[in-house]
Symmetry: C2
Amino acid sequence: MKATMKDVAALAGVGVGTVSRVINGIKVKEQTKDKVESAIEILNYERNEYARGLKKNKTNTLALIVPTIWHPFFSEFAYYVEEELSKEGYKLYLCNSNGEADKEKEYIQMVKQNKVDGIIGVTYSDIDKYVSANLPFVSIDRYFTEDVYYVTSDNLLGGKIAASELIKRKVQYPAYISSVSKYKNETLKRYEGFSEYCEDHNLSVVKLMVDEPRVNFVQQVEQFLIEHPEIDGIFAVNDLTALDIIKVLDKLERKVGEDIQIIGFDGSKTALDQNYLLSTIRQQVDKMAEVSVQNIIKLIDGNEVPKRVMLPVKFVEGYTTKKNIDIIEK
Amino acid sequence: MKATMKDVAALAGVGVGTVSRVINGIKVKEQTKDKVESAIEILNYERNEYARGLKKNKTNTLALIVPTIWHPFFSEFAYYVEEELSKEGYKLYLCNSNGEADKEKEYIQMVKQNKVDGIIGVTYSDIDKYVSANLPFVSIDRYFTEDVYYVTSDNLLGGKIAASELIKRKVQYPAYISSVSKYKNETLKRYEGFSEYCEDHNLSVVKLMVDEPRVNFVQQVEQFLIEHPEIDGIFAVNDLTALDIIKVLDKLERKVGEDIQIIGFDGSKTALDQNYLLSTIRQQVDKMAEVSVQNIIKLIDGNEVPKRVMLPVKFVEGYTTKKNIDIIEK
DNA sequence: CTGTTAGCGCATTCAC
DNA sequence: GTGAATGCGCTAACAG
């Protein structure tokens, strides 16, 4: 049936230890190495990962928890995480939590059972009590406690940039629209930055914050916009929300990019490709993934990494904000 | 440190065998069962999956190979696969192949090494030589050989429906635009169905098929549309391509949905949400995922499943085709 | 440098 | 019903 190390050792006329050494790249006499390798070849030997894991307590496997891989931001993030991990010789488990703590707990169990070495998680549930300080866990976009490592974009700055770009384009009545999870996360900073900047420029922000899970989101947006006809600039918590809002604006026959300007957040490539039109605050998804992966691997290996990493963002102009500001400004 | 079965057995005052039985739900006297369970509780015991895997040679883990999780169709598919798998108590490895056979081979190795029990693959490379008949492998959207199980949408019918919907809307000069992989896959059927139906209605279709990987795709589309100004209806190989084409049409100032109609393919929810406007042929992604998962699990368990499953598709009307056909038809 | 050996933690005989 | 014993395939420590 399936060849084991013993078979290989027998065929090569050496001990199992030697076979193990060859496989793991530990120095062995060239000649014996050749013998072993050809035996491996002949028997079509493949190492059994279970036996190995049992000894080494190391799986070279990570889990990625996202609310849903459906969301373009998460799927782009997952893409980069897997790519980076693959370079490092790691495999990736994918978990859609749907915001349910249960499933997240399950994966935390897995690291305890040695099924995975660590977790990268975009978790919007109250998972924090389960992640202990010595559990390799890197949180994305969410601050738990001092113990939990996290990497995030500079959401505060993003909010400020959005405000500044809108104000630059003569927006007088800025609005912020978002859906909010009952669990605190970094997206709240987008609002903070936005309103702070607006207030500094003597503009007050009207806001709509819909509780998650979103029900009748579109209707609520519509009502909000009808109640506040003066709004001429909107900052949306993310691109998908921005697109939903645009839908409503279309329906209300407000000319987006002219009568009313809108800026999203994320700028993940999928969304941009599909909606080349949306002005947005772009997060460096690739970088986030890279840093997350590098950090968690270092954590697994017992090295020090910064508790917190914050990545810059930048404005990407689309067609939902006014062009040629220079001309406008004249 | 970490509690093992031995510890539990010691604390409960029973043998390890009994502990094992309790854990695996094999009948044990109620009383001893309770003892064991409370010992497990106290010691916070968790089964080591590696030791278990070593014995059982079963991992309850599957791999999903997609070209890139980025693509909304694949990310939606991945979502449903993971969801379905989760119900069945399976874990999912995610692999972005980027169309490279190497990475796909690596995962096939993994099933041989008992790291995964089976693979669901959307593979556009010539992986077929590596998947043997007894390897649990379900292919999506691609026919290999008689040996390989696959599930796909009814692409031929989809093409026909697209043609019929366009013709119903008075299209006279239908076109088909696509990018094509050098490896045969089921998407070619979309063209077949489309052109077949058109020809049956005495319309000849002009087509643009750009080789993958796409370089200068947009430019090629633009040139194609300029060279064929008569085109008044387009069927695109998928939604993303349709959106790219719309971009070009916008640039050329052709009024989409009026001067020129366009139908995409996929209708995955993400794309629809973001582009509520696109008329498309909708695949039942959830169903595809469900069937794939059920079939591969059956295969793993050694049961019979149909070699080939073909799922129906349907037209979903957006704003890129004419509305109120009745009125038009009068 | 290399062969031998002792577990890793569990499931599964086999006796009792 | 249940405890004890055997090995799954591998790595690492040890002895040569």
